[in-house]
């Protein structure tokens, strides 16, 4: 009787970690790729893959403090250019940081939306 109760409790306690494990198998926030840098360079000449990666890090570090992160493909590249400056004051982003985040979201949004 006691053993069955303990088993049920352990199973119940393992349910959420199991769901977390399944969720972890799903894709998260897109990593920038070489093609993204070329696409971004059309708007910001000279931008590199490393700068896009820096934009992703900054997006995770600063934007997740205000809201759940949105995947880049949720909005069009042009929409991101409106959204990021609008949130810059609350997130205390400098103009340089705004542009770094914009580059990452603009480029990966365009690529992932095209892939879909």
């Amino acid at each position: 009787m006691m053993g069955r109760k303990l088993t049920r409790t352990i199973l119940a306690s393992l349910t959420v970690p199991a769901i977390l494990h399944l969720a972890a198998c799903a894709s998260g926030l897109a990593q920038p790729q070489a093609g993204d840098a070329l696409r971004a360079a059309e708007r910001w000449p000279g931008v590199t893959l490393e700068q896009l990666a820096e934009g992703r890090s900054l997006y995770v570090a600063r934007c997740a403090g205000c809201h759940n992160l949105h995947l880049p493909e949720r909005y069009t590249p042009e929409k991101w250019l409106d959204l990021v400056p609008a949130m810059a004051v609350k997130a205390r982003l400098s103009p340089g940081e705004v542009e770094t985040i914009e580059r990452y979201l603009y480029a990966t949004s365009a690529r992932v939306r095209d892939e879909k």
């Binding site: 303990l6 409790t9 306690s13 349910t15 959420v16 769901i19 972890a24 403090g65 759940n68 995947l71």
Partner: protein, 273 residues
């Protein structure tokens, strides 16, 4: 006459609901809570401040028992990934003792909480954070450590906490010590960009020094969790009936000396800056 719901139909319904959650757009603030016992990994940005009044109602033990635990929390983002909080704790209890009702109200101490975010629940495979809390009060002190895991996938939010606590209780002539192990989990879905509904599960087990460190009580709670968020504030509510005793059952398969039949917790969060 009630018609029993076939288990397969219920499971299919739950699965369909969970899958639907993956495709609902979400628009929430990160610092909101979706569960009141289970923490998420989010921390405030540096310089951000939030105030959170907590109210926990715990009712019915073997006799009449009603208890309000009130906490006032001030939460501050200290650095990238690091957040700290300060709590003021108050407790009011009305209970039946030897046929008569007695009430007491006490200052239950202050707490300091520290939380460090390791990974993000959207950007990384799992969100993760480490959490530590120290409470000092006139009748009890407590040291608590917690591992927080969570994941946001579409409109689905899942979280799991493993918590270990060591308590020093000063109510008798000799200080008693207690060790507590708690597992908390929650699963919720965004029904709209502001509203989530889900389920929260909590298991609480304790071992006491006065009893030779034998397990004294272990109980399992589960119930609904709701949260609602706006840009400047949020609220979260959980109602947790005790559903099973693992150790120390007293009445009807439940632990009703060390735990209550029902707990409910409401937390408001207000962003100050």
């Amino acid at each position: 006459m009630k018609t029993p719901v076939p288990a397969l139909a219920l499971n299919t319904g739950l699965l369909a609901g969970a899958l639907a959650c993956l495709f609902i757009p979400t628009e929430a603030t990160a610092t909101e809570r979706h569960f009141t016992y289970t923490y998420g990994s989010a921390v405030l940005n540096r310089g951000d401040v939030e105030v959170e009044p907590w109210t926990t109602l715990r009712v019915e033990r073997s006799g009449f028992y009603a208890r309000f635990d009130q906490r006032l929390e001030v939460e501050v983002g200290l650095a990238e990934r690091l957040q700290s909080s300060w709590y003021l704790n108050l407790t009011a209890i009305n209970q039946e003792i030897e046929g008569a009702r007695a009430s007491k109200f006490e200052f239950a101490g202050v707490s300091s909480e520290w939380k460090y975010k390791l990974a993000d629940p959207v950007a990384d495979p799992f969100g993760a954070a480490l959490y530590g809390e120290l409470t000092a009060g006139p009748s009890e002190s407590e040291l608590e450590a917690k591992l927080i895991l969570d994941k946001h996938l579409g409109a689905l939010v899942a979280a799991f906490n493993l918590t270990a606590e060591h308590e020093w209780i000063y109510e008798s002539a000799e200080t008693e010590r207690e060790f507590v192990l708690e597992l908390d989990g929650g699963l919720a879905c965004f029904l709209s960009p502001a509203l989530t509904a889900g389920l929260e599960i909590r298991s609480h087990s304790d071992w006491e020094s006065a009893e030779g460190w034998g397990m004294q009580h272990s109980a399992l709670f589960a119930g609904p969790a709701l949260s609602y968020a706006q840009p400047a504030w949020w609220a979260a509510l959980t109602i947790l009936p005790q559903i099973a005793a693992i150790e120390g059952a007293t009445d009807g398969g439940l632990v009703l000396d060390g735990h209550e039949r029902v707990e409910a917790r409401l937390i408001f969060g207000v962003h100050l800056q």
